[in-house]
Symmetry: C2
Subunit: 479 residues, 2 copies
C-alpha cells in the first residue's frame, strides 16, 4: 500500500488522507470486494503513522460504507466496482503497486453501452474516415516500408512540420524541431507527468478537471490543488493566493471549452496565468483539444502564443477531431524541457506508429480548415438540439449553459446525488454519462454530470436523453 501523505501545515488530517487514498482504490475497482485490508498495526507501520491514525482512517472508511470490520479478523472491502474480479492469488493482494487511482479506466473503458454519452468524441458519420482510409491504403501499397520502420522517436519529421505550420496559423511560434508527436493527448499528459512531476510536487488544476489527468497526477504522488472556476475559467486571482502557500511545479489547464465544465479562460486571465508560471518557475500544461470547435466567434489565442520563455507545454490532439483510433497529438514545447519529453517518449514506446502519422499528414496540410468549418456547424446543430431536449424534459432545477464550443454539456443538479447509483440505473437502460464526482478527488456525491452530444447520431442522442433524464428525475426526487 503506497500512499503519499502530506504532512505540511494546511493539509487535511492524516486519517482523512489515508481514507481518501484507500477510498480511491476501492472506487476505482483496484481493491476488489472481499479483499482483506492490512491490519491496523501493519497499515500504521507501512505508512509511518500511529495506530490511532490508522484506526481512524478505517473508521472513516467504514462510516463511508467502503469497508466492513469483522471482529477479530480484520477489515474487508465492502463496496467496489462491479464486474472487477478478485485476484485468486493471496500473495498478489500483498503486492504493492503505484496505482492510487484509476477512474479513467473505471469510467471510460469499453462497456458495450448502447448510448455511451460518457465519451467526449465525435460520431463517425462526421469524421473524414473515407479520406483518411484512402491515405492509409495508398501508403501501404506505395510505401510498405512505413510498416517496418521504427521511425524517429520524436515523430515523423514531415508530420511535425505540418503540425508546426498548423500551430503557427494559430499564433504559436512552433517549428518541427519543437514538436513531439504523442499517441493521443492522453500520452502527452502522461509524458509530462512522468518527466516533471514527482512525489510531493504541487500540481494546480481547474475544479472540476479531466479525470484521466487526475489519475496521472495521483499516480506520480503529486499534491493536487483544485482552483475554483467561474464562467471565465480558472480563478487565476485565487490561484495566485494559493501559490503563496504552496508554490506550483505545474499548472494543468484546458483553457478552451474546458473539460468537463465547458468554460473558457478569458484573455486577460491567460496572461495572468502565464505570469504566475513565470513568477514561480513553473510549467503550464495547456491541453487544447477543442479550440477549433467554436460555435460563435473563435476563442482567445492559446496561452502558448503568449509564451516567450518556455513555460508552456502546448498539447493538441489531432485524432480527437479527425479519427480517435489514430491516437495522435502534438506536444509543442521550447527549451530543453522538450528534449527531456522526447527521451521520456522513447522509453515509453519507442515512438508512435509511422503509418498513421503519415496517413494523417495530408489531411492536416490540406482540407483541415474546410472540414473544421463543416464540423463546427454540425456540432452546433447537435448541441442546440440536445439543449432543446433538455429544456423540454430536464427535471426542474437542472441547469446548464449552452457551451460556446466543444463536445459536451455540463449539467448542474439542484442537489448532490449518488451519481454511481444513477450510473448503474442508466447503464441498465443502455445509457452512460460522466459522473461529476470523478472530476475531483474528494467527492462521493456530486451536483454535476457530463454528457456528450456528438458521440451518437442525432436520433440516438435524443433517444438516450429521453432514457436518461427521467431516471435523473427519479434519483433527484429520492435524494
Amino acid at each position: 500500500m503506497q500512499i503519499g501523505l502530506d504532512r505540511s501545515g494546511g493539509a487535511p488530517p492524516l486519517p482523512l488522507q489515508i481514507a481518501e487514498a484507500l477510498g480511491h482504490r476501492i472506487a476505482s475497482g483496484l481493491l476488489a470486494p472481499g479483499a482483506l485490508l492490512p491490519s491496523i498495526r501493519n497499515l500504521a507501520r507501512e505508512l509511518g503513522v500511529s495506530q490511532v491514525t490508522a484506526g481512524k482512517a478505517y473508521a472513516e472508511l467504514e462510516r463511508e460504507g467502503w469497508i466492513e470490520r469483522r471482529h477479530g479478523i480484520g477489515c474487508y472491502v465492502k463496496q467496489a466496482a462491479p464486474g472487477k474480479e478478485r485476484s485468486g492469488y493471496a500473495w498478489q493482494e500483498r503486492l504493492n503497486d503505484c496505482l492510487p487511482r484509476a477512474q479513467l479506466w473505471r469510467n471510460f473503458d469499453d462497456r458495450e453501452m448502447r448510448y455511451p454519452l460518457h465519451l467526449a468524441a465525435i460520431h463517425e458519420s462526421l469524421l473524414p474516415l473515407r479520406e483518411l482510409g484512402g491515405s492509409v491504403a495508398k501508403l501501404v501499397t506505395g510505401q510498405p516500408e512505413l510498416m517496418s520502420a521504427y521511425g524517429n522517436f520524436q515523430g515523423d519529421y514531415e508530420l511535425r512540420a505540418t503540425m508546426a505550420r498548423h500551430l503557427r496559423q494559430r499564433g504559436i511560434a512552433a517549428e518541427p524541431e519543437r514538436v513531439l508527436v504523442t499517441s493521443g493527448a492522453q500520452q502527452g499528459i502522461d509524458l509530462v507527468a512522468r518527466t516533471f512531476v514527482g512525489p510531493g510536487d504541487v500540481v494546480y488544476l481547474e475544479d472540476p478537471s479531466y479525470t484521466g489527468a487526475i489519475d496521472l497526477w495521483a499516480g506520480r504522488g503529486a499534491r493536487m490543488a483544485f482552483v475554483p472556476t467561474d464562467r471565465d475559467g480558472m480563478r487565476v486571482d485565487m490561484l495566485l493566493r494559493m501559490c503563496d502557500e504552496r508554490p506550483p511545479k505545474l499548472i494543468y489547464t484546458v483553457p478552451t471549452y474546458q473539460n468537463p465544465s465547458g468554460v473558457t479562460l478569458g484573455e486577460r486571465r491567460r496572461r495572468a496565468l502565464l505570469e504566475v508560471a513565470q513568477a514561480y518557475g513553473a510549467l503550464i500544461l495547456e491541453d487544447d483539444p477543442f479550440s477549433d470547435l467554436y460555435f460563435g466567434s473563435p476563442p482567445p489565442p492559446p496561452i502558448k502564443s503568449l509564451d516567450t520563455d518556455g513555460h508552456v507545454l502546448y498539447l493538441k490532439s489531432f485524432s480527437k477531431m479527425l479519427a480517435p483510433g489514430f491516437r495522435l497529438a502534438a506536444l509543442a514545447a521550447d527549451g530543453d524541457v522538450l528534449t527531456r519529453l522526447i527521451a521520456a517518449k522513447s522509453a515509453s514506446d519507442l515512438g508512435s506508429p509511422l503509418l498513421t502519422q503519415r496517413a494523417l499528414l495530408p489531411f492536416i496540410a490540406g482540407r483541415y480548415d474546410a472540414y473544421a468549418a463543416g464540423l463546427r456547424a454540425a456540432l452546433r446543430r447537435r448541441m442546440e438540439k440536445a439543449a432543446r431536449i433538455l429544456s423540454e424534459i430536464a427535471p426542474p432545477g437542472v441547469g446548464w449553459t449552452a457551451p460556446e464550443g466543444g463536445l459536451c454539456l455540463w449539467l448542474s443538479l439542484p442537489r448532490p446525488l449518488d451519481t454511481a447509483a444513477l450510473a448503474a440505473d442508466a447503464a441498465a437502460a443502455g445509457v452512460s454519462f460522466l459522473p461529476g464526482s470523478v472530476c475531483r478527488t474528494d467527492e462521493a456525491r456530486s451536483r454535476h454530470i457530463r454528457i456528450c452530444y456528438s458521440i451518437l447520431s442525432e436520433a440516438d442522442t435524443e433517444r438516450a436523453l429521453r432514457l436518461l433524464l427521467p431516471l435523473l428525475a427519479r434519483h433527484l426526487a429520492r435524494a
Copy 2:
C-alpha cells in the same frame, strides 16, 4: 536534481552513487555541455547529504572527465552527448525532472545511419509487409469505423483471443481475458515498471541487460542488481544468494537468446527462477521477443508455462517479427496484477490503435508458423554469413558464440574500450553498433559490442562489417 540514494548496508558509498547518477544524466545527454551544476552546498541540501559527500561526488565526476570546476564559479558539464542542445532558458536548468537515464533515446533514436547495426530488427525484405498491407487496405475500406473507435483499453478482443491461442500452442495457459495488448514490448516493460516498481524496490536483471529496460527501472527509482550470466543464462544460484541480502520485488529476464548476450536460460534454471519468485512473493517479467527464431532445436518452454500462481508476467512482441512499425505486443498475466496493468495502460494512452490490431490478427491466426519457419532459415543464413566474415577479418582476440537464435551477435573484445569513441568513428563511416557499456549501469568502458545481422540486406551487412571491424582493430591497438 532527484537522485534516489541507497543508504542500506551493502550499498556503494554515497559519493559514488551521486557521481554515477549525475554521470548517467550527462552520458545520456540530459545535462548539456556547459550546463552549470548546483553548488556543493545546494546539492548537499537537495539530497540530504553532507557537503563533504557532495564535494566528493563532484571530485569523482571531475576525475572521470564529466565535469570541470571553474574556481569561484562552480562545476560545469564538460563532456556530453553531441548534438543535444542547451536549454536556452536558465530557469529550465533548475527544473527538476524524474529522468535519471536515457540511454535508449541516446543510442537508438533515428540517426540517419547508413548501416544501423545497433538496431535489433529485421530487414523489410524478410517481413510480410505485402500481406499486412493488404489487411490494412481491406479494413480501411470495409470497416472504416475502426479508425474512429477508441476500442477496448485492454486491446481488441479478437486479437487477444488470437494471441492467447498462439501462446497456448507454446505451452502458456492463456485466455483472451488474461492478455493485454501493448504498443510494443517497450510499453509492456514500461507498464510493469510504472505499476509495480517504486523507489527503493529491488529489481534483478541479467548482466548485461537491455538498455531500454534499465532506463525504465532507473526512472522508477529502483535499486538494480545485476546477476552474472554464463552460457546457460542467468546464474540463478547467485541470484538466490543475492536475494538473501536484498529481497526482490521483480526479476526482469530475457530468457531466450538474451538481449544483448544471446544466451538461453536452461530448463532447470527456469524452474529454479520461478521458485525464487515464489519464495519471495516477487514478480518475474519474462520478455520473450525471440523464441520463435531458433536456428536448431526449439528453446525450452517459456517460464510462464511453468507458472501456476501468477508470478510470471509474460511479454511477447509480435511487431518485432512481423512489422515493427505496428508497435504491438501481448502481455499475459494471471490474477489481479493484470487488472492493475490494464488500468495503467488506460491512463498511458487509452489503448493501442484498433486498425493495426485488427490488421495483424489474420496473419497471427493464419500464416504465422509457415512464415516463422522461412524467417528462421533466412536469419540463420545471415547469422552464419556474418560469423564467416567475422572469422575472416575480426581483429585477434575478438570472440563470439554463434547464437542459437535471435537477431544479434555479441562480440567480446580482448580488452576494455572506450566504446563511445569507437561509436563516434564508426558513425563517421556510416556504421552504428550497440556499446556494451549501456547494457549495465556502471561502465564507461566495455569489453563488448552488439551488432545485428538481420537489419540490413546481406550485401550491406557485409559492407558494414568490413567498415566497422578495421576501426575496431585500430581502437584495440590503441587501447
